[in-house]
């Protein structure tokens, strides 16, 4: 604070009479903000959009060179792609549904039936979000691994193991917006409903759920996109039977060096994810979240 005072004096001393100088700054308004927006856009274009465009271009270029739809025909017709697409979609949908139900229940208890330590649990949820996803699979390897606590190694190499890991990791992503939405609900409303004889399920259905719907929609669609793109959880299970689209991209590019094929899968994956993400943006903006 001590520094500010003399600085202000300098400015006052050096300033020209008010109105005129202000206008000279604001006159070239129409294009000046656009000019300032250009450098970051150019940077993003260089490191993100241009590489993406190259991926799209390479997906039309088989190893023999030239332009052709052959890579698309090859990949889309292959059995492994169809299976990966189906696995990815149903895993993502099922995990999202699980996260929504579980997240709603847990957030409901934290917010409306608080127990000693509920705030600590809410903070724990925040910390949880800053850990990488593959830690969950690493832990599951001990619990369900060959010599582990429960010891059924098969479980982890099935899609159900991946589903459990995804629900565990992504539920906090639903809980956080829900807790924020719940803190905005006027408790007087709930008390009034309760004193008029409404039981808990009815209060949840008629008061809390409508209030939580935007947060549920926003959190749910975010989790759907993140599940479609999840890589670490699937990689760590080491399951050959569970291949999702991101795994297929990795396998084709790094393990098989089939870049055109990898680019085709990448384009399909991007189209699905970006389409869903666009939906998420529309939903969450309408919800004002």
């Amino acid at each position: 604070m001590a520094e500010v005072a003399p600085q202000v004096r300098v400015v006052r001393g050096g300033s020209r009479p008010g109105g005129g100088s202000r206008r000279s700054h604001t006159a070239p308004r129409p294009y000046k903000p656009l000019l300032w927006a250009l450098p970051p856009i150019a940077l993003l274009g260089l490191v993100f959009l241009y590489p993406l465009a190259l991926v799209v271009r390479q997906s039309f270029q088989p190893d023999t060179g030239g332009f052709s739809l052959q890579p698309y025909a090859d990949v889309l017709a292959s059995e492994s792609f169809g299976r990966a697409l189906w696995t990815t979609v149903w895993l993502a949908v099922a995990a999202t549904a699980g996260c929504l139900v579980l997240g709603f229940l847990l957030a409901l208890v934290i917010a409306f039936v608080p127990f000693p330590g509920a705030r600590t649990v809410a903070r724990f949820v925040d910390v949880y979000l800053s850990f990488p996803s593959f830690l969950i699979t690493l832990a599951l390897l001990f619990i369900y691994g060959g010599t582990g606590i429960v010891g059924s190694f098969r479980f982890l190499t099935t899609p159900w193991g991946v589903l459990l890991a995804e629900i565990t990791y992504f539920t906090p992503f639903v809980m956080r917006p829900l807790l924020a939405a719940f803190s905005g609900i006027d408790t007087a409303q709930i008390e009034a409903a309760g004193s008029l004889g409404a039981r808990a399920p009815r209060i949840v259905r008629r008061i809390i759920l409508p209030e939580a719907l935007p947060a549920l929609a926003a959190g749910g669609s975010l989790v759907l996109v993140l599940c479609l793109n999840e890589f670490g959880i699937v990689l760590f299970t080491g399951a050959k039977g569970v291949t999702t689209l991101p795994m297929l991209v990795y396998g084709k590019a790094i393990l098989e060096s089939d870049y055109p094929g990898a680019c085709v899968v990448a384009v399909v994956n991007v189209l699905i994810s970006v389409g869903l993400y666009g939906l998420y943006r529309v939903v969450s903006r309408r919800a004002g979240a």
């Binding site: 993406l52 847990l106 724990f124 800053s130 990488p132 690493l138 565990t168 994956n269 991007v270």
Partner: protein, 265 residues
């Protein structure tokens, strides 16, 4: 209070614990427990040892830790600079162009990180910008992935900013650059530090894009953890994972301290 009967409340809490503990607390406890053990064939880990940590804090693992820290720090600084600039520039734009810019800068969230890795690999393996094989390709990919989060939190903070401060400064004759440096950025400081913490944590745990393009001499911690578990060294992998979590948490704690100081000013 939603549930008034004592019995029902206890029943709910039990359900909560039964769901919450195994799903969320157990994984972290298991990794922590395994990092101190050599065997795990019963309910509890056995063979207590500190050898996993000795392996996790020297040689290859220590190098991976510094690699991760340097990568995360550089990527966060780059992402924060680009994201803040973009958010400030977007705030000055009209409604429509601002929406377009929002969509543009949030796009990397929607694109799978594996694809971001593939794209960066494809783009920077050819002559005009040959980064493949250097640490910069990893840092670039991380920066691309976390810029969206920096942009999002700074943009959200800008809309909450009280315009009275900058208007007062401007009416006293302060130039736009001075208003930005002396008024807007200090007011944004709390959300800037929050964004920095988020970017750092995300970059520390980034695996998908990194797997696509890390050079052999620039191996971040998550890749090392994967390599360890892949060759069956689960217990060493757990110890490295605990080191990763501890490093992330320590930096987040430092950042949040900075943040409280910033918001008290």
């Amino acid at each position: 209070m939603l549930v008034h009967s004592r019995k029902a409340r206890w029943a709910l809490w039990t359900v909560f614990l039964v769901l919450f503990l195994p799903l969320f607390a157990l994984p972290l406890l298991v990794v922590l427990g395994a990092s101190f053990a050599t065997h795990w064939s019963g309910v509890l880990p056995s063979g207590p040892t500190g050898a996993n940590y000795r392996a996790a804090t020297r040689g290859e693992a220590l190098q991976a830790l510094t690699t991760s820290l340097v990568t995360a720090l550089t990527a966060s600084v780059l992402a924060l600079a680009a994201g803040t600039w973009a958010a400030l520039a977007a705030a000055a734009l009209g409604r429509r162009s601002r929406k377009a810019m929002d969509a543009l800068f949030m796009l990397p969230v929607a694109v799978p990180s594996v694809v971001v890795g593939l794209a960066v690999l494809v783009a920077f393996s050819r002559p005009p910008m040959l980064l493949n094989g250097t640490r910069w390709i990893v840092i670039t990919a991380h920066a691309v992935l976390v810029t969206a989060f920096a942009y999002q939190s700074v943009a959200a903070a800008i809309t909450r900013l009280d315009p009275a401060y900058e208007q007062a400064a401007a009416s006293l004759g302060a130039r736009p650059g001075y208003v930005l440096w002396r008024v807007r950025l200090p007011l944004l400081l709390p959300s800037l530090t929050a964004a920095a913490g988020l970017c750092f944590a995300l970059s520390m745990g980034e695996l998908s894009a990194t797997m696509m393009l890390y050079p052999p001499d620039w191996t971040p911690l998550p890749v090392l953890i994967y390599a360890a578990t892949d060759r069956g060294a689960l217990f060493t992998g757990s110890a490295i994972a605990v080191v990763l979590m501890a490093a992330t948490l320590l930096v987040l704690l430092a950042v949040s301290r900075l943040r409280t100081r910033a918001s008290y000013r």
